[in-house]
Symmetry: C2
Amino acid sequence: MNQERLAGLLKNIVVEEKRILTDKVDLYSYSFDASFGVHLPDIVVQPKQTNEVAAIMKLANEQAIPVYPRGQGTSLSGGPLPVNGGIVLDLSKWDEKLDVDHEDMVAVVSPGVLTADINDAALKFGLIYPPDPSSSNVSTIGGNLAENSGGPRGLKYGVTKDYVIGLEVVTPEGEIIRTGGRTVKNVTGYDLTKLIVGSEGTLGIITEATLRLFPKPQATKTMMAVFDDIVDSGRAITRILSSGILPSKLEIMDNGTIVAVEEYEPLGLPTDAEALLLIELDGHPVAIEDEIQRVETVCKESAARDVRVANTSEEAAELWRARKLVSPAIVREKPTKISEDATVPRSQIPAMFKRLREIREKFKVDLVVFGHAGDGNLHPNIIADKRDEEEMRRVEQAVEEIFEAAIELGGTLSGEHGIGTLKAPFMEMELGEVGLDMMKRIKESWDPNNILNPGKIFPKPGQRLVLTNG
Amino acid sequence: MNQERLAGLLKNIVVEEKRILTDKVDLYSYSFDASFGVHLPDIVVQPKQTNEVAAIMKLANEQAIPVYPRGQGTSLSGGPLPVNGGIVLDLSKWDEKLDVDHEDMVAVVSPGVLTADINDAALKFGLIYPPDPSSSNVSTIGGNLAENSGGPRGLKYGVTKDYVIGLEVVTPEGEIIRTGGRTVKNVTGYDLTKLIVGSEGTLGIITEATLRLFPKPQATKTMMAVFDDIVDSGRAITRILSSGILPSKLEIMDNGTIVAVEEYEPLGLPTDAEALLLIELDGHPVAIEDEIQRVETVCKESAARDVRVANTSEEAAELWRARKLVSPAIVREKPTKISEDATVPRSQIPAMFKRLREIREKFKVDLVVFGHAGDGNLHPNIIADKRDEEEMRRVEQAVEEIFEAAIELGGTLSGEHGIGTLKAPFMEMELGEVGLDMMKRIKESWDPNNILNPGKIFPKPGQRLVLTNG
């Protein structure tokens, strides 16, 4: 259908005409995300009511037009890309509702609310919303829900899915359903809430979510431990966790990351160290004072050559600054960052580091590793220049081998970034033919016309990894 | 198919003939669970290998014979009942594997392992398996997984589903798949793990599970608070939770429960009190010493007339004895216990207590209330005699009104017991026609011949609640 006719039909649905975008310039800004590929939609709609979304989905089914829900477009895996053209639903403007109920310890939110704003609203009641993807200041909760976003606090507090207890959802065929509710315990039928969260916008469009909040920890404490041998740092992690202490964050930076940050901004980091752990404890102030000493002892016994404990919140912020600078630091030399999130069982972290080192040498790529070591969720990042086709071919091969290594070590393709378009070619490698088929059966039974976010998660026959914008 | 022919076909699949049961006496012991209804299966098989289960499911599809997986049969909602005859798969004998990996902090288990045994095995490594359904000494992990069992520790630690990161599953059509894995973070495709856990054995047969373990809390502390007004106890709960303290258990007993326990075994409980809270804190010893004092202060400020803090583990056990005796105490006068688990948002607990009081008076039933107040998961229990048909009709009406009240107050039919046969008639009341249909689509796409555990969750047209064994 041509754009003009489609716009005419959508005007009967959407209350304000200005929420229908047809200009080429507007369409272009919805053609990409934070991963790879440029795909122009035919039209963009900014719905702000559940009924609008339902009517759009009914229209889309009648006319066989693909629909792609989208938040702020920070996806690292291609989740919101309009790969077959059609309608982009920009839900980021729909941010009116952010209701905290401190008695029920829940927040009820519209899909366009920024994730960090939920935590800020909760803090006024002495509560927190624990999931903390590093994009939380710019990404919407709707996007976080679609992708089941993680973050450093995942080790102790879990991921987005662990905090969602109820949803309002528009089905692919345009019906409105409510899943779950306001109670933490609910075993009434299949758990559609946890099925839809993390389904990357392929099973429904989330128009409202009810999220659990938690009491705010009374205090936090941060330390840094420096290791000459990355295997020792892995051993330290295991010992900390089996000593009855569960840190709120446990991050690792490898030598390449340390050097990049130190070159970017001199912080006095040990550029000859093989690994650096950043550890945060939270809880009762007396308890974490005691626990931080025990963590220090464990690190020293595990051959840490240096341990620094922050005594003030300023000192803690200083230690975390190293981690915060990783992303800007590593893209200084080349413009293209391929950010993976292959995840392995915790015991396999040293083996994964070894494999990553081999991959770096084999394909001669600029590969650094950092991430959430406490839960095995590493971030191998390759820095390249996407205009250099020969380099990008090597990067593609390296990424394929990273996925193979993660799966061989009992891990998974993606810990928190999602499959989207980028990792779809590798799904069968992890899930097997039948496993993937069971997922496809759900998709087909819910979206028989394949209208909602097509081209994601499920590979097309013969689909391969392509890290260019062609 | 007649039993003899079926047994013959199964002998080609099951390695040991003694694991095929055909005697009437044996079949009878698989005809009921801890809820209502007696349904004889045609045959019982005790598989101990994944391949056996897969072959049985293929045979069952070819021959259109229903199959019902079963653990120890402690279900309170009819989950394992062979309502259409056919094959019962008794998985309780399959208990060989219980491997704890303290580095990855996981346990890998066979379906027949008793839940309490997992926790015991974890304790040897300073770890715990947190979910603690009160049946944990007699129920299998397979049953817990099928029903997504809860328990008192759910308030702080969540329920069974929150600890399952990987499954081996035989699909309804007899294919073997693996979902999830050994990592806590995993966003590779749809979350089949959390879909299958809690699906009451209708979407697959779990043949192995990988469970997260947690560091064992260093210490625990218990107290009891006595209230003249149940609304005050509700206020105390909210204040405790919004003060930054998250108890590991927060249980309530109403006056009827207190009186029943005290008559059963004199413990010196206050039989004139309207409510009694039992609170357990866990964590660092110094922290919980401080926190228990703050909880005590909050309770007193919320009009608790008496607060007792246990100073030793013996005193703590003494306080918990009151809660442990509830079940034996309440069935002393009449033999039939109808144990519901309607769950409401925490703020609605006082309103739910009021509704339950009205229901008790309206239908003149022996209704007592206790349960997991911290997460709104109440256990209204009606005590009756199932041989008294007139009484059972009143009980059925009372139960219907309990469900209506829970849903009107924003809650759910079931917090932890499941839907099974008993609550199926009320599904549409909570989920609506479309919500239920979306669940049914999944079932039909996975089990097109409706072979696996038919008659559960989804109501038959016109199905009503029946609390008799007829």
